[in-house]
């Protein structure tokens, strides 16, 4: 009997499933403690619901369920100095045969440790910027249903583009050290940057490299301060999609703070950025996000969050803002129910909302393991 496997049937998600379940099987049946201690399998999932409450507005009028994502996180201690980390995601009920959903590598990199203060990563990575980018898919890692739109997805909040890309392929130098009990962490990443005409995780479409850098400082146990920057030169294309030789400069800066005192927590992030095309004027934008929360018995955490975006400082009445009231409940260990009410307001010149103010309800059930 001949078995014929076609390429369509052996899709990438299927192969990854096979590899991960094989590892899980090996771990479960391993009698060698040293071997099983080298592998660590974690993951998370998110199920969401969204419903427009107002009569009109850019939200879901039907009240839809969303099998948002399932991610598998694998860590392998290859040697005492070398760790491999990857996160594979299946989003929105991935069914590749029907072209539905999305399967992707969020990150995959080996990390080589020279010293605690000097490590190297190469591969596809999250861009180290601000509070949320590195955890934006990991819904158990933050209180609200979604990461702040104003600072993380300004293109869905009336902006023309994001302050920085989510992912990058390149090289990172990072590490941590302490001075007089003050903890410092740094990460400097050089990458291809973002582009539309070629796959940025495979090939750069120009010689200029993108640079991202973040410095985190923890002066006391409850306080963490951070500054981030991202800069790149984006290739300008002609009508046929060819490189004109001209570049648009993109640069963004962020400062953020996270503070916890007993059960009370605060976070704040401010980003300013500009794009400077060769044949047009400079566009400046800024955004902020602030959140206050209070933990009740480690189970219930009510929160309030405010977001603001000015997508173009030269245009009046184009800003958008959102205030959210939510409750995060830990039902079981790392299993959360999130309920959130959002009120979105905008100016008439805002590209996304056009001055239509509206309210929406969001809910999510998320699991981390």
């Amino acid at each position: 009997m001949e078995i014929n496997f076609t390429k369509q049937r052996l899709s990438i998600p299927t192969i990854w499933c096979g590899i991960l379940f094989s590892i899980a099987f090996l771990l479960a049946n391993s009698t060698n403690a040293q071997l099983s201690n080298k592998f660590r399998l974690n993951g998370y999932s998110s199920f969401e619901y969204e419903h427009l409450i107002s009569n009109e507005g850019e939200s879901d009028p039907n009240g839809s369920f969303d099998a948002d994502l399932i991610d598998i996180v694998l860590n392998v201690d290859v040697t005492s100095r070398l760790r491999f980390a990857t996160d594979i995601t299946w989003e929105h009920g991935t069914a590749s045969e029907d072209g539905r959903g999305n399967a992707a590598v969020e990150y995959a990199f080996p990390e080589y440790t020279v010293r605690n203060w000097l490590k190297f990563r190469v591969g596809k990575m999250f861009v180290p910027f601000g509070i949320y980018n590195e955890i934006h898919t990991a819904k158990p890692a933050f209180l609200a249903v979604k990461e702040p739109l104003s600072t993380n997805k300004p293109d869905k909040f009336g902006g023309d583009a994001r302050f920085y890309p989510r992912w990058a392929t390149g090289v990172s130098v990072l590490g941590n050290f302490s001075l007089n009990e003050i903890q410092f962490e740094y990460n400097v990443q050089v990458s291809n940057g973002e582009q539309e005409n070629t796959n940025p995780f495979e090939e750069d479409d120009n010689e200029e490299k993108a640079v991202a850098a973040r410095l985190l400082i923890q002066p006391t146990l409850g306080l963490k301060l951070g500054i981030s920057t991202y800069s790149d030169r984006l290739t300008e294309l002609d009508g046929l999609g060819d490189d004109t030789g001209e570049r648009t400069k993109l640069s963004s800066w962020s400062t953020h703070a996270e503070y916890q005192y007993k059960d009370l927590g605060l976070e704040f992030e401010y980003i300013t950025g500009k794009t400077d095309p060769s044949a047009a004027g400079e566009l400046k934008k800024n955004a902020l996000e602030a959140m206050l929360y209070y933990s009740l018995g480690d189970k219930f955490t009510p929160y309030v969050r405010y977001e603001y975006l000015d997508p173009n400082q030269d245009i009046d009445d184009d800003t958008a803002n959102m205030i959210s009231f939510g409750l995060n409940t830990e039902i079981d260990d790392n299993y959360f129910l999130k309920l959130q009410f959002n009120r979105i307001s905008s100016g008439d010149n805002n590209n996304e909302f056009s001055g239509v103010n509206f309210s929406e309800f969001q809910a999510a059930v998320v699991l981390g393991f």
């Binding site: 005492s80 605690n116 898919t137 990991a138 890692a141 933050f142």
Partner: protein, 143 residues
């Protein structure tokens, strides 16, 4: 006089035998490491940096593999100035962002001892009551 010296010597010996080992045990828990770990003394901030994933290498470059048990939690969280909820939340972010591997948690001290004993670079927190049965693990002196 000879008898007095004799009794004093006996008393001193007994007192030494019963002196609590305050340098090794701290508020009800003991820190143990794998026999191949060179470090014999660790400060409070060193322990904290290890359990929050900042220190990932020993002096001999072995990877640090931290572990703990629920039994010793309350005293241990106090020692490293945190709470279990905050510790978990910290590691959720760190693991899912690709920035580290969380410490292993075991149901009891014996689980920690077995792990530390069989894993190069391992360090563990066990209840003080379990310190007489640590096999070939070494107890670390806390500064």
């Amino acid at each position: 006089m000879k008898n007095i010296k004799y009794y004093i010597s006996i008393l001193l010996l007994v007192a030494l035998a019963w002196l609590p080992n305050t340098a090794q045990a701290q508020d009800g828990f003991v820190v143990i490491v794998n026999k191949n770990v060179d470090e014999t003394t660790l400060s409070k901030s060193s322990i904290r940096r290890i359990y929050f994933g900042f220190t990932t290498q020993w002096k001999n470059f072995d990877r640090v593999k931290p572990s703990y048990t629920e039994v010793s939690n309350a005293a241990f969280w106090n020692y490293i100035s945190t709470e279990k909820g905050k510790f978990k939340s910290f590691w959720t972010k760190k693991v899912f962002s690709g920035n580290g591997v969380a410490p292993d948690e075991f149901n009891d001290g014996q689980g920690v001892i077995d792990f530390v004993s069989s894993t190069d670079g391992a360090i563990g927190i066990i209840p003080s009551s379990a310190q007489n049965n640590i096999g070939d693990c070494k107890i670390v002196t806390l500064q």
